[in-house]
């Protein structure tokens, strides 16, 4: 289990849980980042990550992305 922020581009993973404040966690979950959901990292550089979740691309700052804990998938 690692934070989403550390996944290389092109990897898929399943969300295990969210850490961080109540408001931010809730907002992320309502946008579809719920435990059990599959995510795909589209790009990851020095800036924000682009993540595909439930058919939508979302840009996440590295701070947010390190609060989403995922299990990488083969």
């Amino acid at each position: 289990m690692i934070p989403l922020a550390y996944l290389p581009p092109g990897t898929r993973a399943r969300i295990v849980g969210l850490t961080g404040g109540y408001g931010q966690t809730r907002r992320l979950m309502e946008m579809g980042f719920t435990p059990g959901t599959q995510v795909e990292v589209l790009s990851s550089g020095p800036g924000p990550l682009l993540v595909k979740v439930r058919g939508v691309v979302v840009a996440l700052g590295r701070g947010v992305a390190s609060k989403i804990i995922v299990e990488p998938m083969r």
Binding site: M29, G47, L50, V53, G55, V58, A59
Partner: protein, 705 residues
């Protein structure tokens, strides 16, 4: 059958809400803020089958929990009893995500119509949705629409009327199975039934929200003297979370999404569709860590330079005059949009004065109309082309999907200054005009970031200030190298001050060490639609006219009064006016820059004039030097040294941009204190920086000689 039907329109950001809203209503009838908030409320009217339907646009949100003012506004309006039904928009290109809000609303009320938007785009992406099956699952009417193609609109309006008239509607709210939580939900429900708590809310919904620990509802209950109920649900929640080791709200949101997934599996079919390779190449370049930021900036700068050139002729006029075609340059300026509007209004003012005199109107009325009201309206309208063009450029960038990608690529840069990548918009718009730039602070979700933008963006040199810079620089510096250097350095100082102000506000005032977190949905890149661009542009521009227009006109009347009246009533010579008295009062400050005598109060007076509109600063100086000289001669007649001219110019660029911007700051913060403090801060930092430049320059000159 007399009463109008009120429809609340809800939807996620990016579901095409403003587009559908525009096509449903044709025109926005009313824009205001939701009571007690700075969240915007739009309304529009549509007549259908002889009935009047009033659409009320709810803020775009992902949920109706109470984590932001927008969500509270949306939810409380739905239960207020004012809307007859809720129209929820679901993006048919992303049903798995956007159905979530529809399901939440259906849990709260049964009077719902669902519109599946972007039917055309879904079709071309190979996404097909079984509307009948979806209706059956959600037990609410579902209509497939395409705002761009205009399909499904009539059917949607028919459905809305049917539901409003009670011909078609779900009998009860939607029930999702929350598995192990169900016994607790029933327990809270029976507690609520016994006490008859908040009967306007659906009881099951209320029970679920209280178990989740919804602060807003808890406060509401406490206000109504139902503290015991809150205490009971709180201790129940703590007990459940302790014994299961799981968060209730996480369980609820996850269960709801599982429910959405189960519906989507049965109603959505995807067939492979060809994708456009050209768009994906642009996409990859825009978000590239190395090429992305410069490419994004280049797109924005190109769009804005084109907008400026159309509006004031800049930078075309400079280009033409520097290659020796000064006549062409003058023509470009004269026939630029703002040049034409200004010309039109000065003719109109003169003609009106003539007609009024002939009709025997008292001279102060003539002066008020010809010199106060008409130029005021004229100055609003001379801003207007610029604002329309900027908004058009912005709408293209926004609708094409390029905008959010630029925000992503600029995120790292703005993070250094305590902002997120979204700040690129207000800063870019600010180069044109600070008023819409302050209004654009709304793009931020974080309240602190919004305030940071409001207080820092007025330092960004707008077009009016560019006119002042150009006039001074060409008058006081002969060599093109020095001219270019001074223009660039002034922009650099102003932009740095803006960014530093933002960072300082975050660190010192809000005491936040980290920059705002970026969470931004990125819609797919596509060819912008002319219709959408036009709607967005018109919508924004009207918004500007309504908000800023009235204020600018009022302020221009106030300025007219300041310049035409003195202690003895109407004055012939501006030098006897209240404005001049004020100028004389503050003229000692100019001694700090080594400027004294006649020129000191003339400059001080021009600075006061510059508060109404920065470009008026130059005109005032010309008028005070007798009016019959060119701008350049008038400026040179102030007899400044290049160093004095440069440091005063820095002051002129940095101090309060104009009254209209101050008005915009007030409108966005709703706080007189913030407005005044930011005004004082601007004047103080303008003085400190320009004086530092002046004395450092003096020192260097002294050492050099």
């Amino acid at each position: 059958m007399k009463r109008e039907i009120v429809v609340a329109v809800a939807g996620n950001p990016n579901v095409g809400k403003s587009t559908l809203f525009t096509i449903l209503t044709g025109e926005i009838a009313h824009v205001a803020n939701w009571p007690g908030t700075t969240v915007e409320r739009k309304e529009g009217i549509r007549r259908h089958r002889g009935r009047v339907i009033r659409f009320v646009d709810l803020p775009g949100t992902y949920s109706i929990s109470a984590t932001s003012p927008e969500e509270i506004v949306a939810r409380e309006y739905i239960v207020s009893g004012e809307p007859d039904l809720v129209l929820v928009l679901v993006d048919s290109t992303a049903p798995e995500r956007t159905l979530n809000l529809a399901v939440q609303v259906l849990e709260l009320t049964s009077r719902v119509v669902i519109a599946l938007t972007k039917a055309d785009a879904a079709h071309s992406q190979g996404i097909h949705i079984h509307v009948d099956k979806l209706e059956e699952k959600l037990r609410a009417p579902v209509v497939l629409v395409s705002a761009l193609k205009g399909t499904g609109i009539r059917e949607l309006l028919d459905t809305i009327l049917d539901v409003a008239e009670g011909k078609r509607s779900g009998k009860s709210t939607l029930r999702i199975n929350y598995s192990w939580l169900e016994p607790y939900i029933s327990e809270v429900e029976s507690l609520l039934r016994k006490q008859n708590v908040l009967p306007e809310y659906d009881r099951r919904w209320l029970a679920i929200k209280l178990l989740e620990g919804d602060r807003r509802l808890e406060d509401l209950l406490i206000q109504k003297g139902l503290k015991t109920v809150v205490e009971k649900t709180r201790s129940l929640r703590q007990a459940i979370e302790r014994s299961t080791g799981r968060s209730i709200s996480e369980h609820i949101i996850t269960s709801r999404f599982n429910y959405v997934d189960s519906i989507a599996r049965e109603t959505v079919v995807r067939v492979p569709a060809p994708s456009a390779p050209m768009f994906s190449r642009i996409e990859n370049l825009l978000i590239h860590p190395l090429y992305g930021p410069p490419l994004g900036l280049l797109i924005l700068l190109a769009a804005f330079t084109a907008a400026f050139a159309l509006n004031t002729g800049f930078p075309l006029n400079i280009v033409f005059s520097s290659i020796g075609l000064s006549e062409v340059a003058e023509l470009v300026e004269e026939y630029s949009l703002s040049g034409l509007v200004e010309k039109g209004f000065s003719i109109l003012g003169a003609k009106t004065a003539e007609i009024l005199y002939a009709a025997g109107a008292p001279s102060w009325v003539v002066a008020l109309i010809a010199e106060g009201v008409i130029p005021g309206v004229g100055s609003v309208l001379s801003f207007f082309p610029l604002i329309v063009i900027i908004y058009a450029a912005l709408s293209v960038i926004e609708d094409s999907g390029i905008g959010p990608r630029i925000a992503v690529s600029m995120n790292r840069f703005f993070n250094y200054f305590g902002l997120s990548g979204k700040a690129i918009y207000p800063f870019m718009i600010g180069l044109g005009c600070n008023v819409p730039a302050v209004l654009a602070s709304r793009a931020s979700i974080e309240e602190e970031e919004r305030k940071q933008i409001i207080v820092s963006v007025p330092f960004v040199p707008c077009q009016a200030r560019l006119i002042v810079i150009l006039a001074f620089v060409t008058a006081y510096f002969r060599k093109p190298v020095f001219q270019a250097l001074s223009i660039i350095s002034i922009y650099a100082v102003a932009l740095l001050l803006a960014l530093a102000t933002s960072l300082a506000t975050r660190r010192v005032y809000f005491r936040k060490k980290t920059p705002p977190e970026l969470i931004l949905e990125i819609p797919p890149i596509h060819r912008p639609s002319f219709k959408v661009v036009w709607w967005l542009t018109w919508d924004y521009s009207k918004h500007f006219l309504r908000k800023a227009g009235t204020l600018i006109v009022l302020l221009s009347i106030a300025t007219w009064w300041l310049l035409s009246y003195g202690p003895g009533g109407i004055v012939e010579d501006v030098r006897a006016s209240y404005g001049a008295i004020l100028g004389k009062a503050i003229s000692p400050l100019l001694l700090l820059y080594g400027v004294g005598g006649e020129n000191a109060w003339k400059t001080a007076f021009a600075l006061i004039q510059g508060l109404a509109a920065k470009e008026a600063l130059i005109e005032t100086i010309a008028v005070m030097q007798g009016g019959e000289v060119s701008t350049k001669e008038a400026l040179l007649a102030l007899g400044l040294t290049p160093l004095q001219a440069y440091s005063l110019l820095v002051f002129m660029v940095l101090y309060v941009p104009c009254f209209a911007t101050i008005a915009a700051i007030y409108l966005e913060t709703k706080s007189l204190k913030t407005t005044l403090v930011s005004m004082l801060y601007m004047i103080a930092s303008a003085m400190i920086i320009s004086l530092t430049i002046y004395y450092l320059g003096q020192l260097i000159l002294l050492v050099a000689t």
